[in-house]
């Protein structure tokens, strides 16, 4: 069974690699990895594993609204982290909200990565006026904070789409907005690396045998610049999740019908003064743990993939 052998070799090589060694040596990274994995699995399976399906209005009971967490007096054990103003289980909304947050995070990172890597490769490999144009656009965008650009794109979408349609399309608008405002980093890094790779022998050899430039770029150069891209992507996931939650908190993000973590914090914030702290604090806590884990993983990956630091 050649496939099986191939796979076993791959696993063996991974277990013997430096990356895995440095992974095993750091308990912090292992915890961060475990938490990230837990979040992702929970988010992927959310509709089937949550104790209460909060999207189904029929299952909500207004008598159970504003219940505190289970360990506080007056709390019920079925609502472990309490309930919100409509009687929705806070724990279930958090798990379902993390699903929305991670969906937006992954999709926007994917968009930014694809766009940034492609433009960076082209700018670096082709050079000349193409390079100048792409990099000038990047320079202009880089002089403004991403959050402003995201807000602008979201505002434009709001103006162009009718209101009911915008609520349905909100998630896609945000993915687009975050993706379009964060591709620059990938493009800059990939361009720099491509400039270096371009002059190496293997690229020259590929050129000599007459391969098409596009084939050289994506088949030969791309695999050699993917390491740093992976690091930026991991750190970018944390930033994307934070940006999404910030937008939703500001009330220009995901609508309350299918709330993300940021929307939940926004809703909970309205009840902070009447003492129902759990509605804002628990989603916030989960958000911080998620982002912190992802950031720790990204930091570790950067160090582990960088041979200069060993």
């Amino acid at each position: 069974m050649p496939v099986w052998h191939h796979l076993r070799d791959l696993v063996r090589r991974f277990l013997a690699s430096d990356v895995f060694y440095s992974f095993r040596r750091s308990p912090t990274v292992m915890i961060a990895f475990g938490l990230t994995l837990l979040f992702m699995v929970a988010a992927a399976l959310a509709p089937w594993i949550v104790p209460h399906n909060t999207y189904e209005v029929a299952s909500l009971n207004l008598m159970d609204a504003f219940l505190p967490p289970a360990w506080v007096e007056g709390g019920k054990l079925t609502y472990l982290l309490g309930t919100d103003d409509q009687g929705r289980d806070v724990f279930s909304t958090i798990v379902l909200g993390a699903r929305v947050s991670l969906l937006v995070g992954f999709a926007s990172v994917f968009l930014a990565l694809t766009m940034g890597v492609a433009l960076g490769l082209i700018a670096g490999y082709v050079g000349g006026i193409t390079d100048s144009i792409i990099m000038r656009v990047a320079d202009v965008k880089l002089s403004f904070p991403a959050i402003l650009i995201v807000l602008l794109i979201d505002g434009v979408a709001r103006g162009l789409l009718p209101r009911d349609l915008h609520d349905k399309a909100a998630v896609y608008v945000i993915i687009l907005a975050i993706g379009l405002s964060t591709w620059i980093q990938y493009a800059r890094t990939v361009r720099g690396l491509t400039l270096v790779e371009k002059n190496k022998e293997y690229v020259q050899a590929a050129r000599v045998i007459g391969l098409h430039p596009i084939l050289i770029m994506f088949r030969h150069v791309l695999p050699n610049v993917m390491g740093p891209v992976l690091v930026i992507g991991t750190l970018g996931l944390g930033i994307a999740v934070l940006t999404e939650s910030t937008l939703s908190f500001l009330g220009v993000g995901v609508p309350p019908t299918e709330p993300s973590l940021g929307t939940l914090i926004r809703i909970g914030n309205n009840f902070l003064f009447s003492g129902e702290w759990w509605m804002a604090i628990f989603p916030g806590l989960f958000l911080v743990i998620l982002v912190l884990s992802v950031n720790l993983l990204g930091d570790w990956l950067r160090d582990a993939l960088n041979p200069k630091l060993r």
Partner: protein, 327 residues
């Protein structure tokens, strides 16, 4: 040097033109302004007459030039929602944002620099480690969550500080200030900490890294060998040499403060420009959106330009590098 300044200035003007074009495109394509102005039952002729009167039937580039002229003369149009001139609304909101940004920047400098010096000097001390850990958590917390936590602790649980608004303000000409009343100053505390925390940790880490670098230098060893006091070495020699990058980064961060004021102002219901911008997005109030955009872009461009020129003036090595790479 002179050519560099000219090139940089031209680049800035180009950026501003691009931003103005985006703002103009917003005006043009986000809904027909005529619909907002005429009565529901206006005839097609009436609409066309108004369109002609406002110059909306003219070619695209003529309208853009008119728009630029209006911008330069401070005529930003009327808010769709409130109906008052945008210039007036923004002028009312600007002092609140600028005061908040000013206090946040002061907070970041006066906490960040000493903390950075301390953690740089006492690398392995328990307090240093504690401060670094706290700063790491501070970076991972989103701004709005920091605001909520501060409100929960200091406004809801302890009841020491107000959680929203500016408190009492005093009108000085066109400028409304919160600096002159006790409630105004109290209202500034939580928002400015929330806004400045990220920059504080950034400056602290930067100063620490620079201090570690500088303290290894030969002239520090020499200063110690001469028998200078620790105080003179640490502050007179070491800190002084870390300040160039710190000033640059701190300057660039002021733009970030203005942008992130949007979030802080929303959390604390602070009546500034950022809060105005968010409400104008929610109500699709295009004139306010595009004016805010142009103003903030102007701030950014000016700050970037000044910092670039400062860098150039302060660090002579840059001048040499430029002339070499130009050949």
């Amino acid at each position: 040097m002179f050519a560099y300044i000219i090139r940089r200035a031209l680049q800035s003007i180009l950026v501003m033109a691009a931003v103005a074009f985006v703002a103009f495109a917003l005006f043009q394509y986000m809904g027909d302004p005529i619909n907002q102005m005429v009565a529901q039952d206006a005839t097609l002729e009436q609409r066309d007459a108004l369109r002609k009167l406002l110059g909306l039937d003219r070619p695209f580039y003529v309208q853009f030039l008119l728009f630029l002229k209006n911008l330069l003369t401070g005529n930003f149009g009327f808010s769709f929602r409130v109906g008052t001139p945008v210039a007036q609304i923004i002028a009312e909101r600007m002092p609140a944002t600028l005061e908040l940004v000013f206090v946040a920047a002061l907070f970041a400098l006066f906490v960040g620099v000493p903390a950075g010096v301390y953690t740089g000097l006492h690398r392995h001390g328990a307090i240093s480690r504690f401060m670094l850990t706290v700063s790491l958590i501070g970076v991972s917390l989103p701004t709005f969550l920091i605001g909520i936590l501060l409100i929960l602790i200091f406004a809801v649980m302890l009841g020491w500080l107000p959680s929203f608004g500016r408190g009492q303000t005093v009108q000085l000409g066109f400028w409304s200030t919160g600096f002159l009343t006790a409630s105004g100053l109290k209202a500034l505390i939580l928002p400015s900490i929330t806004l400045g925390l990220f920059q504080t940790t950034l400056i602290m880490r930067l100063v620490r890294a620079e201090m570690l670098e500088v303290l290894r230098a030969d002239y520090i060893k020499f200063a110690r060998a001469r028998g200078l006091t620790n105080r003179a070495v640490n502050f007179g020699h070491a800190l002084k040499n870390t300040l160039v990058p710190v000033i640059t980064i701190a300057g660039l961060q002021i733009g970030g403060l203005i942008a992130f004021a949007i979030i802080t102002e929303t959390v604390f219901q602070w009546p500034g420009m950022g809060f105005l911008f968010i409400t104008s997005i929610q109500f699709v109030d295009v004139p306010i959106m595009s004016t805010y955009l142009v103003l903030v872009a102007l701030c950014f461009v000016i700050i970037n330009l000044i910092v670039d020129l400062l860098y150039f003036a302060v660090d002579p090595r840059l001048r040499i590098d430029r002339s070499v790479s130009a050949h």
